[in-house]
């Protein structure tokens, strides 16, 4: 497992998840060290997105434990989990398309009530994502994919989270934006926010991650420091789904 000396910020232990009869996760255990970027890699239908949904309380596991900062998340509703300090950048952004960019970003601060600090944070977002400045009153749905990703990240940051979970943040973006997004994830992380991201694009994700897990049909088949995994030939095997015994 990871070289976590202190108690991890997020820990999934022995999680088994089912959709009806079909089992999605087999005894899944993942932990996110405080201040790290942890990446969950896997191909289609490996159970990556379900892992996100488990953390956010959108799907309940049949057995196992999910804890954040030492306290269990099981039994909490999604809004309650968000209030504990977990923000999300959902797959395909999921912006509120008919609301303005400004409203979308401010929706991220929904759980906060400190008006002035929220206004300051909005300004901060505009320095972090300068392009959004001219777009504030535009409908979020009218932005390009890359711009929408910026809005989604700004929105997530607005809750002042301790951890952000991201579902395929680079999916469907132009190469230019992919680099930019990865750069931003690193910046966010350097400001003290832990990141748990789910990715298909292994080489990109391993560039910025501290640790990584590889998920294959619901089981963790590989895990360790990102640097070590980068050169591991098994990564490729796990990806192509070639070797069941990996």
């Amino acid at each position: 497992m990871t070289n976590a000396s202190a108690e991890p910020l997020l820990a999934l232990t022995g999680v088994n998840t089912f959709y009806g009869q079909a089992q999605v996760h087999f005894d899944l255990s993942i932990s996110v060290t405080r201040g790290h970027i942890v990446c969950l890699l896997g191909g289609n239908a490996s159970g990556k997105s379900t892992t996100m949904k488990i953390i956010l309380g959108l799907v309940k596991p049949r057995s196992g434990e999910v804890s954040f900062d030492g306290a269990s998340l099981l039994g909490l509703s999604t809004p309650q989990i968000v209030r504990r300090g977990i923000a999300s950048v959902p797959e395909a952004r999921r912006l509120f398309a008919d609301m303005s960019v400004r409203e979308n970003i401010l929706m991220g601060a929904f759980v906060r009530n400190d008006r002035e600090a929220i206004a300051q944070d909005l300004d901060k977002m505009l320095t972090l994502f300068p392009k959004l400045g001219q777009r504030l009153s535009q409908r979020a749905g009218s932005l390009s994919g890359g711009e929408q990703q910026m809005v989604a990240m700004a929105r997530a940051l607005m809750s002042r989270p301790r951890m952000i979970v991201m579902d395929e943040p680079t999916m469907g973006l132009s190469p230019l934006y992919v680099d930019r997004v990865l750069e931003l994830i690193r910046t966010i992380n350097q400001e003290g926010v832990s990141v748990f991201m789910v990715e298909q694009n292994a080489s990109l994700a391993l560039e910025i991650a501290h640790e990584a897990y590889v998920l294959q049909t619901g089981k963790i088949v590989l895990s360790g420091p990102a640097r070590a995994l980068k050169d591991d030939p098994r990564i490729r095997d796990a990806y192509l789904g070639g070797s069941e015994a990996a």
Partner: protein, 607 residues
């Protein structure tokens, strides 16, 4: 009223009233993708609370409005909390059916409390009219316009500037994403139900004052008008609902000006059908909007049907066949005859709603077509009754299918709305097409049932006749379900896109289902006409459509035996327990609610 300006003013005022209902529907649809069929009942409750306040408590007008708004909001909150929230994880049809059940329960409670007789609801405003250009306008018109504008303004401010308002908008656009921002979706639901109910209740009170009359029939009409306005404006689109309402008010008012009062509703429903067919997303929907409700499969509760051995069915059928040979009372036979007639309608509906997944809320229209055709064939053209009934069945199959065919491209809730509207249109055409249907007078002196020249007058012979017809239809339908055609129907229900990808023509199969279903329902209507000897445009009403739906859900959607068991249960049990007629609809409503909550697959399971 004479001038066009008067008609315009009238249209806008009525449109304002519709807007109060439609905006609530739009808010609820936006947040929960649910058409709240109980909205009209809240409007009814609002009208009666207004009556209690004005006539019994003598409250001044501003206080009356507040009392009505608050009381109606409380009713809305109760509906949300106890009627709908437990269904959050159920199949998509469950909350829709629950709102229908709730509306039956509320309407009946109001009727039982206040009696079905109309009451006057004075407006407490001076009865003067001011000249405006060529028309006149009264204080009540101004009040309604004022309430409408104020509500719209408050709603705008709420949605645009309040935190809860933002949560409502965010939830409407992406429920999961809103939850991930920390929005408590239950609170959002509460908020929209509360607001919708307050607006609906005030609307009912204003309408009562406008016509100085309230009665329990207001409920369904309000729901229908609200739904029309909402769909015209684009489901879930709040400003669209306002514009749709004003448009509806104007269309109705001008229609009345040209053709007369009895055409008011006809214009409303024609407008709905035209919009549904040409622009199902509403007049103002932009192209970017996702097509309405990509819901398939999940609409019907999946379950394993209860297997009943053939011999048991044969024994049961034999038992019912020989029943009249035993000394049973006329009353029992009469009850069972009603059950067999309802059974035929339920067979039809279980095929259409269960097997091919088109949840029809206007099925009684097929009865009406069959009944009128058969009655007129035998009366006007002296066709023998047996043939006339078959003619009624054929007519119902042909006309029913033709009428519904424009809405074959719709799905889910929209099918229900379209069928409801088409049902109303049939009833309104019967009312207005006097040269053929004899209009409001109805048709009397319909010859009694007869077969090959022998009159079937004794209860025993009528019993055997109706039982035999039902059994034949049930056997045919059972055969149909196991055939390739039956499988195609179910494929379309479970996933119409996949079915189409495999080369099934949706239009053809939906037509076939409606032809078969229309025939069975038409036969039932035809028999009923000759049994009753008198029918009019209200003999086969929406209540019957809903009763049939309850039967079908009770038995299990798509389940042939279930449809018959459900009919016997819902017709027979109230008789068995001697439940007074006025409580029956209440019971049906409660049965529907309990079923949806605790056994959505029905007694015998869906097929």
């Amino acid at each position: 009223m004479s001038s066009w300006l008067d008609y315009t003013i009238n249209g806008l005022i009525v449109g304002n009233v519709y807007a109060l209902v439609a905006v609530g529907l739009a808010l609820i649809f936006g947040v929960s993708r649910l058409i709240n069929f109980a909205q009209g009942s809240i409007y009814l409750v609002g009208a009666y609370i207004g009556w209690v306040a004005v006539v019994q408590l003598h409250t001044p007008l501003p206080l009356t409005i507040i009392v009505v708004a608050v009381a109606a909001a409380i009713v809305g909150l109760i509906i949300e909390r106890f009627g709908l929230r437990p269904l959050q994880n159920s199949v998509r049809i469950a909350p829709l059916l629950a709102t229908i059940g709730i509306s039956f329960v509320l309407d009946q409670l109001v009727m039982l409390t206040f009696s079905p007789n109309p009451r006057a609801l004075p407006s407490q405003l001076p009865d003067v009219r001011f000249q405006v250009g060529g028309g006149t306008i009264g204080p009540l018109d101004l009040l309604i316009a004022g309430v409408g504008l104020t509500s719209a303004l408050l709603l705008f401010v709420f949605l645009r500037y309040s935190k809860l308002g933002w949560a409502v908008r965010a939830t409407a656009q992406d429920r999961d994403a809103a939850m991930q921002m920390g929005v408590d979706v239950n609170r959002v639901n509460q908020a929209v139900f509360g607001i919708a109910a307050a607006l609906g209740g005030v609307s009912g009170m204003l309408v009562g004052m406008y016509y100085n009359q309230i009665d329990t029939a207001m409920s369904l009409q309000a729901t229908l008008k609200g739904v029309v306005a909402e769909v015209v404006g684009g489901a879930g689109n709040v400003p669209g609902a306002v514009i749709g309402s004003l448009l509806l008010g104007l269309v109705e008012s001008y229609g009345v000006a040209v053709f007369g009062t009895s055409y008011r509703n006809l214009f409303a429903f024609l407008l709905l059908v035209v919009v549904l067919v040409l622009r199902p997303n509403g007049l103002f929907a932009s192209a970017r909007q996702a097509p309405p409700e990509p819901l398939t499969g999940t609409f019907i509760a999946p379950s394993r049907p209860v297997r009943i051995p053939r011999w048991a069915l044969a024994v049961a059928a034999g038992g019912f066949a020989v029943l009249p040979l035993f000394p049973v009372s006329f009353y029992v036979l009469q009850t069972l005859i009603n059950a067999w007639l309802l059974g035929m309608l339920a067979l039809s509906l279980t095929l259409v709603a269960g097997t091919i997944g088109q949840v029809s809320l206007g099925h009684a229209a097929l009865l009406a077509i069959g009944a009128y055709s058969s009655a007129l064939l035998s009366l006007t053209f002296s066709v023998p009754v047996g043939l006339a009934i078959i003619g009624g069945g054929l007519m119902s199959a042909a006309l029913g299918t033709a009428l519904i065919s424009p809405s074959f491209r719709l799905r889910g809730h929209y099918v229900s709305i379209a069928t409801l509207a088409i049902g109303e249109i049939v009833s309104l055409v019967i009312l207005n097409w006097e040269s053929v249907t004899r209009g409001p007078i109805g048709i009397s002196g319909i010859p009694p049932l007869s077969l090959f020249g022998y009159d079937l007058i004794s209860p025993t012979s009528i019993y055997w006749f109706s039982f035999a017809v039902m059994v034949v239809l049930a056997l045919l339908q059972g055969r149909l379900l196991t055939s390739h055609l039956g499988r195609s129907f179910r494929a379309i229900r479970d996933d119409d896109i996949a079915a189409r990808a495999y080369g099934l023509s949706l239009n053809r199969y939906k037509s076939l289902a409606f032809i078969f279903g229309g025939f069975a329902a038409g036969i039932s209507g035809g028999i009923a006409a000759h049994l009753y000897s008198y029918i009019n445009h209200e003999t086969f009403n929406t209540q019957q459509s809903i009763l049939a739906l309850t039967v079908v859900i009770l038995g299990g959607l798509g389940n042939v035996v279930g449809a018959i068991v459900g009919s016997v249960a819902l017709v027979g049990l109230p008789e068995l327990f001697r439940i007074a007629a006025e409580y029956r609809i209440l019971i049906y409503g409660i049965v529907l609610l309990l079923l949806v909550r605790f056994r959505p697959q029905g007694l015998l399971g869906t097929i």
